[in-house]
């Protein structure tokens, strides 16, 4: 045998290493495999032989840890004991190392955020609140208190547009504007979020005075009238049945040269407050309900009012008053354009129709060139609408959805593995009645369970960090530079991260959130009953002392 060659040396080394960790009953077999190495003429064949043998021994070593045989002869301090001890010690070190590494992740702020996000799915499961009661946010409440103490108008406005308590939101917005009147635009943001509350009667005029060219206060006023009518059971079936105040508000909105939903001001304020108060909760940076940032009723109100303008224009056309008809159509075009500039598309179909009608009117007036231009613009509006729809249908949310799925899985894995580890440690301490590490000496199964749970915790931590990190960077970039282009992806991610794993929306098992809540509490109740039964059983089976002496 040529032991000098590298493959041979490697083969011997492999088998020797495997023998050193193998349990005693398998170690002899390792020596047997080693003995056969001399028979191989080819170095590489010998190496392959030792690979196979080392694999067998390693498997036995692992099995010996997981299922320590009770009837294994206890050696009298020979090599077997040292080998088993070595394996056990290695496993113990690995367990402690994995647990420490998992805990080290918590020192990284981004990971803490990720962990917080991964727990979001449990909020609605654990906090079962009466229908209609929205959840509170302790972080936001704390910031609100600080802002009030510091009389910080911007921070008050920050909380006002985020808190899910309507009256609190209104109060904070009023306080913010009282401290800094330049923040009057906050009324617009809060009013869009809450639609109807008493302060709106005061806010809409204040906002109109603050920003007289903006259509937003008029849309807010119109919506307020809509809601009041609906609450009283008076649903207008046509624009003619609408009250004069509604018509005035919509007319004013359609006359307005701009529609500003104050997204830019809100973004700037968010960044400033985030920097000032070192806010790192990602949920505070995305306001996913502000999709259009215009009142909910604005789309239908605008469409209905546009239809009424079309009807009026048709009547004027019939009378030959082309100029007035042209003005009506142009009014619709102008308002639809300012809506589109704001990123809202509820008027896209009306814009297309208005251009067609303008083209038809131009044809009647004999202006063919202008008619062609309007036809082209109608086509463009239609194309833009279709593009927008196609974009919405194929929005790139797949990555966000999968990242959120991973985050949720990792969150659950972390909780389960942490619990399993705690159970192992607790059972060990209780059994040994000691907190000294040297006295613990876990059994094979406990050690294997502990090791598996800490390895799971480590892998879950790493995966959670990796899946969340890109979104944390988007938020940080937004705070640093104001780049909001990627925030919709964060919004998608966070929206999915809040859905309990296994429930309805995609990647689930078709259960609703309510069903998951039910099954969760059913499982908790079942476990409690099981624990109680176990305790009773143990009580009856306890050794009883002899009463007679």
């Amino acid at each position: 045998m040529t032991l000098g060659t590298l493959p041979r040396r490697l083969a011997v080394f492999l088998l020797e290493s495997a023998i050193s960790i193998a349990p005693s009953d398998a170690a002899d077999w390792g020596q047997a495999m080693m003995g056969e190495l001399t028979q191989f003429e080819s170095d590489w064949s010998a190496l392959l032989w030792s690979f196979g043998g080392a694999g067998v021994l390693a498997k036995h070593a692992i099995v010996a840890i997981v299922f320590p045989r009770r009837n294994r002869p206890v050696p009298s301090g020979g090599s077997l004991f040292s080998k088993a001890g070595l394996m056990r010690k290695t496993a113990l070190y690995a367990t402690v190392s994995c647990m420490l590494a998992s805990l080290l992740f918590f020192l990284v702020p981004v990971f803490r955020e990720a962990f917080h996000v991964s727990l979001a799915q449990w909020h609605d499961v654990l906090h079962v609140s009466p229908v209609g009661n929205l959840r509170s946010d302790p972080g936001l409440e704390s910031l609100g208190r600080k802002a009030e103490q510091n009389q910080d108008a911007e921070a008050l406005a920050f909380v006002a547009v985020r808190t899910l308590n309507k009256s609190e939101s209104a109060r904070l917005a009023d306080d913010a504007v009282r401290l800094d009147p330049t923040l009057t635009w906050v009324y617009g943001v809060v009013a869009v979020d809450w639609s109807s509350f008493p302060a709106l009667d005061r806010w809409a005029p204040a906002l109109e005075r603050f920003d007289p060219q903006n259509a937003l206060p008029h849309l807010i006023a119109a919506e307020r009238i809509d809601i009041d009518y609906e609450e009283r059971g008076l649903v207008p079936h046509s624009v003619d049945e609408e009250p004069a105040a509604w018509k005035d508000a919509m007319a004013a909105a359609f006359r307005s040269p701009k529609l500003d939903t104050y997204s830019k001001q809100l973004d700037e304020l968010t960044r400033r407050v985030a920097l000032r108060y070192k806010i790192n909760d990602p949920f505070h940076f995305v306001l996913d309900y502000r999709w259009h940032a215009v009142p909910t009723f604005a789309a239908t109100d605008s469409a209905r009012y546009a239809e009424s303008l079309f009807a009026a224009a048709e009547a004027r056309e019939a009378r030959g008053d082309y100029k007035s008809a042209f003005e009506n159509y142009s009014t619709v075009v102008r308002f639809a354009e300012i809506m589109r500039e704001n990123g809202s598309y509820p008027m896209a179909r009306r814009l297309h129709e208005a251009f067609l009608r303008l083209g038809s009117l131009s044809e009647k007036e004999g202006n063919h060139q202008q008619a062609q231009l309007y036809a082209f613009l109608a086509g463009t509006a239609d194309w833009e609408w279709n593009e927008r729809m196609a974009f919405l249908r194929t929005s790139p949310e797949v990555v966000s959805r999968w990242s959120a799925f991973l985050a949720r899985v990792c969150g659950i894995a972390l909780l389960l593995s942490g619990t399993a580890f705690l159970v192992c440690v607790t059972s060990l301490v209780v059994r040994r009645r000691s907190l000294r590490l040297a006295a613990l000496q876990p059994k094979g199964m406990t050690l294997a369970f502990g090791l598996a749970s800490t390895v799971t915790a480590l892998l879950s931590s790493a995966m959670l960090y990796v899946s969340y990190r890109p979104y944390a960077e988007v938020v940080q970039r937004f705070i640093r530079t104001g780049d909001e282009s990627q925030l919709p992806a964060v919004s998608e991610f966070l929206a999915y991260a809040q859905i309990p794993l296994g429930t309805g929306r995609n990647l689930g098992w078709g259960l609703s959130a309510q069903e998951v809540t039910f099954y969760f509490w059913l499982a908790v109740a079942g476990l409690c009953v099981l624990t109680l039964l176990l305790a009773v059983w143990r009580f009856w089976r306890r050794p009883r002392g002899n009463a007679t002496t």
Binding site: W29, A32, T38, S50
Partner: protein, 129 residues
């Protein structure tokens, strides 16, 4: 050409052996095709001592497959093992041979496995084997 019934008749003939085998198998490992292959090699010279390297060459099994089989057979006393000293500086070699119990098992298992294989062959070829 023998019919499929012929093979079942052959199995019926083996019933006493199967009974013995079942008794034996109550405390035996599950016999895989590779184990049967190893047993077949041992059965060629039942009382001869065999080396792991030779068995590996004859059966074509790698060490990672062969040794677990040998270990299981030895664990259930179907195989006896012995260390053979070699020249100085060269590790001793481990040799193996079937115990009487092992020989009995191998003799019972071999025909069963062959018949089972033939039955399978006939069954899957529509009785044309």
């Amino acid at each position: 050409m023998p019919s499929i019934g012929h093979y079942f008749a052959e199995i019926d003939d083996l019933t006493p052996n199967l009974y013995i085998c079942r008794l034996t198998l109550m405390k035996t490992p599950r016999l895989s095709p590779q184990t049967l292959l190893v047993l077949e090699r041992f059965l060629e010279r039942p009382r001869a001592w065999r080396y792991g390297y030779d068995l590996s060459r004859e059966t074509g099994l790698k060490s990672g497959t062969l040794y677990p089989i040998l270990m299981r057979l030895a664990k259930y006393d179907f195989l006896e093992t012995k260390w053979v000293a070699t020249e100085d500086g060269v590790p001793p070699r481990h040799t193996y041979r079937l115990t009487p119990r092992g020989i009995e098992l191998a003799r019972v298992e071999q025909p069963i496995s062959r018949v089972a294989a033939r039955v399978r062959r006939v069954a899957f070829s529509g009785g044309k084997a």
